[in-house]
Symmetry: C2
Subunit: 343 residues, 2 copies
Amino acid sequence: MRILIDAMGGDNAPDCVIDGVCLAKGELGGSVDLTLIGDEQKIRSYAKDRMLSLDGIDIVHTDVAIGMEENPMAMAKGKKECSMAIGLKMLSPVGVGRNKYGMTGDAFVSAGSTGALHMGSSLFAGRIAGVRRPAIAVILPFSKPVLMLDSGANPDARGDYMCQWAIAGSAYMSALMGIQSPRVGLLNNGTEECKGNETAVEAHKLLSEANINFVGNVEARDIPFGVCDVLVCDGFTGNVVLKLTEGVGKFIFSCLRDVFETSLRTKLAYMLVKPQLKAMKKRLDSSEYGGAPLLGLDKTVIKAHGSSDGKAICNAILQAKKCVESDVVGVMKAALGESGEQS
Amino acid sequence: MRILIDAMGGDNAPDCVIDGVCLAKGELGGSVDLTLIGDEQKIRSYAKDRMLSLDGIDIVHTDVAIGMEENPMAMAKGKKECSMAIGLKMLSPVGVGRNKYGMTGDAFVSAGSTGALHMGSSLFAGRIAGVRRPAIAVILPFSKPVLMLDSGANPDARGDYMCQWAIAGSAYMSALMGIQSPRVGLLNNGTEECKGNETAVEAHKLLSEANINFVGNVEARDIPFGVCDVLVCDGFTGNVVLKLTEGVGKFIFSCLRDVFETSLRTKLAYMLVKPQLKAMKKRLDSSEYGGAPLLGLDKTVIKAHGSSDGKAICNAILQAKKCVESDVVGVMKAALGESGEQS
């Protein structure tokens, strides 16, 4: 098994990416081949400074990177040879497609721009036959983990896309998280069947007919309370759910800080609950669940958070390994095939 | 000034509505005429049981009500004489439109079904000239109050609707809350101008050209931190924002409860911060801001929360009075006229 890692993606690239790859190498030993894609000189010089060993880690050199805020379209124009594009091309067999890099990967991890990764995956990576649009799935860190897709890559969605995402998300949750017959919910503005905007109404109809465990419409207020394992929505709404969860959490914790800062009495209270509060905050941190998989591609692609540190990159690599081992893509292909989605 | 109140709307109708009207009568004295619309016998018998005086409160009798879960379309068919429909018709001058009830109201308050109130307002109440779709606005209870619209009445929106809502929302926040030149944000999945689904992209263009203080796209994670005074979005997304804010808040408070229940130590901590925690919870309760105004109509209509108690109904009545006094509708008309939205 070979996992490719984008050395030039993320807020702290390449430093934290190199840290993460070295950590992962330590964990995985020789069982997985790791390939860093990026500026070889920078990589070697950082490793040397930190006395990190790159033994057994391959490097594919490029000094082109696509920035976090750069227009994803650049992937189609001047930046076809950026580290992210190379990683995606290397998911094809050597010599096939545009893989001219002498080795092939089973999975690709990048902490770079989400938009670019989604765009690049359409340009350079293969989709599962019949899949209309790949989606980016994230785990929402509530009482039970909820896989939500799409989380932002497809602001304009259609019912048929969403139905495929439901099937792919179910396959991911069963193969990777061991959940039998994951409950799929459709995010909507009411629980009744007739509710929703045009897209949601269309999606409801298709989801009802699909070969999944569809539990119907889910209202946003119920998301945190374990009403479904897979939550399907268009990417615009998914992005709002993801970021609002983060924002409201941050806001309430800032209010709590004010509460504990009120007086000597409340400061004492803080000292008494500090460890439990920290543990709670950690449990609510979505980065504890690793990166966000792009589902619908015929290889594993994991988007690590832009602000990932070495540990987060290492976790994303381990997650990619688990995806390859559990053959998430194979399970997804079979599920989409059974549902007639490959016709 | 006359304020009409739907006695048959809400989870606790008519009891809590009657409580609320009597409370409001006590506060307002003779300065405002109050009219209850509902089952006269039930109203009188409840008031008698509780020894509440109905002196100076008019009653318009109907024993027809529209249920909280009932299809709003019923307003157009068998339920044209339900309390909500009568209230909306009574906003027209006596004899004009379908107002055959001998008195006319300046404002209407209902805790009934949101969908029915929105549908009924289109059927029976007048819109400000040129307004395409009325929106339901809610205050999100963050560090600074944010007026969000639409909050769910229009799941399928268009850029031009949203531009009118921005103008109406600005007028409301300046007339009612005294905010000079309210900052209007467009909820979007990124801050860059090009971001969004088709509707948001269209809305961005129109908002940039409108005569408002448009501060651009707002990401959901920033909503709680006072980046705008008015937040515009389609009703589907608005509904998700409203309910997810509620759900995440509830979830975090339930985690906090577990934290404080861990041990004797943490229980002691709870005792020390209990008053501050309660105050914080209250500050985060949106019902503290009263009801949700329907904006775009040519009279004031306030939707009180379905679970309103007497105090909440009383607050919604006081809010309606304030809207009439500050001539929110007049300010809105002028703003929409200036922006050429009445052509």
